[in-house]
Amino acid sequence: MCLLFGTQSFAFAENEPEEEFKAGEVIIEHILDSYEWHIFTWKGHHVSVYLPCIVFNEGKCYTFSSKVFHENEVYKTVNKTNSEELVFTIPHEGKYKSKIVILNADGSQIRPFDISITKNVLALFISCTLIIVLFYLVTKAYKERGEKAPKGLQSLFEWLIVYVRDDIARKAINEKSVDKYLPYLITVFFFIFINNLLGLIPFFPFGANITGNIATTAVLALFTFFITNLLGNKEYYKDIVNTPGVPWFLKFPLPLMPIIETVGCFTKPFVLAVRLFANITAGHIVVLGFISSIFIVAKISMAGGIGMSVFSLILAIFVDCIELLVAYIQAYVFTLLSALYFGMASKEHHH
């Protein structure tokens, strides 16, 4: 796995033979999204999958392949609103760095409504298809085998499903409401876990940084936020407005506790999003950092590069192993905390 990381980074290095190898850029380029999926570079020739761009301008949809930006700096098309020339480009710097913008005649940039199938989106589609296929197979196995003991893939999934159900959901949520939240918890667990694992496979069509993307984790956190607050019971809202167990002067005349509790409703999912994003991104950065260090040292001396590659590979393998653990732990933590929030929103008071 790490060797392949090596190849990937090596491709980046060969990519610009004249230019200096900039580890930071390579790493950030991997972490971020792009309109094409660079697979490898062979003798200075890029082998990439060019993905479709879908942008909306003034209510009109424009679709084109990202290959247009590989051939030219700009892509000129006809404005569907007023039949004038419309110029798309991807700036290399500035506010909209690496994003499709509309270049106006006066040089100003407008970011259109952009739902292009980027590298991350494609990887997301692949992983979601994989999840659905896996769950389809497992469900089929359950239908076919009925109450017989699980077998193969079904056993693996059953172990994880039962784990999520018994050790996460049932411990955090009361017996009455646990069934309501269970499908979401299982979805979120497998989604994060499978995407984390796919992110660790360094070659096409995997290795995209989906769960290390703030948008992914934000969406997941929003799902948790909405499910928590929309399915929350009366007790939950009563506790926010009139927090039990705190002195009255924290609630009146200045409603300090209600404010803190309300803010808490938003910070909880925010923390969820940031934790997952930061952990996965950090893992990718560290592995790539170790691999990049080989090329940095090799620039200075070849012997050093060889020595460094041994050292870096060992460390990268070590970090990759930790990443496997992190892949599971982060899926577990996200699911567990979601379950805890659900548990808080559905708890029943026993007086």
């Binding site: 980027t118 769950f135 948008a215």
Partner: protein, 164 residues
């Protein structure tokens, strides 16, 4: 900054894709899996309970069997004892009866012998008497052949009778 700025396009696709996955799992996959798991758990629990019950029953049956065996053994012992007692009794009775029979037989034999002897004696007596009479007849014929002798004899008898 770019790294922590969520991209709208990606949020859009992510919401859609995650929504589809969530919908698929919540609507199609989980109901089947959850139900099957629940059913299987219930089945396992029931099976365990049943096994426990059967085990208990088996134990009961075993205990019952043992009790029956014990009882049977006791009964056998009793029967044997009774048989022994009755055997002894039968033997005793048989012995007693045999003894009695023997005694009776001996008695009857003795009686028969006695009778035979008596009969024989009677016969002998009769014979002797006959012989005696014949002898006496002969003697008397001879001795009392004369009147004098007869007279003497009568005299003797009278004398004897007087003496008495």
């Amino acid at each position: 900054m770019e790294i922590i700025t969520p991209d709208f396009g990606f949020i859009f696709w992510m919401t859609l894709a995650f929504g589809i996955v969530f919908f698929f799992i919540a609507k199609f996959a989980f109901p089947v899996i959850g139900k099957t798991l629940k059913n299987r758990e219930q089945k396992i629990a029931e099976s365990l309970e049943q096994a426990e019950r059967i085990h208990e029953e088996m134990q009961n049956i075993q205990a019952k069997n043992e009790e029956l065996l014990k009882k049977a053994r006791g009964e056998r012992e009793d029967i044997l004892n009774e048989a022994r007692i009755s055997r002894d009794k039968i033997i005793e009775e048989a012995t007693a009866k045999a003894k009695e029979e023997t005694t009776r037989l001996v008695e009857s034999a003795k009686e028969t012998i006695e009778n035979e002897r008596k009969a024989a004696m009677t016969d002998i007596k009769n014979e002797i008497a006959n012989i005696s009479i014949k002898v006496a007849e002969k003697i008397l014929e001879k001795e009392l052949s004369t009147d004098e002798a007869q007279l003497n004899y009568i005299k003797d008898i009278i004398k004897e009778t007087d003496n008495q």
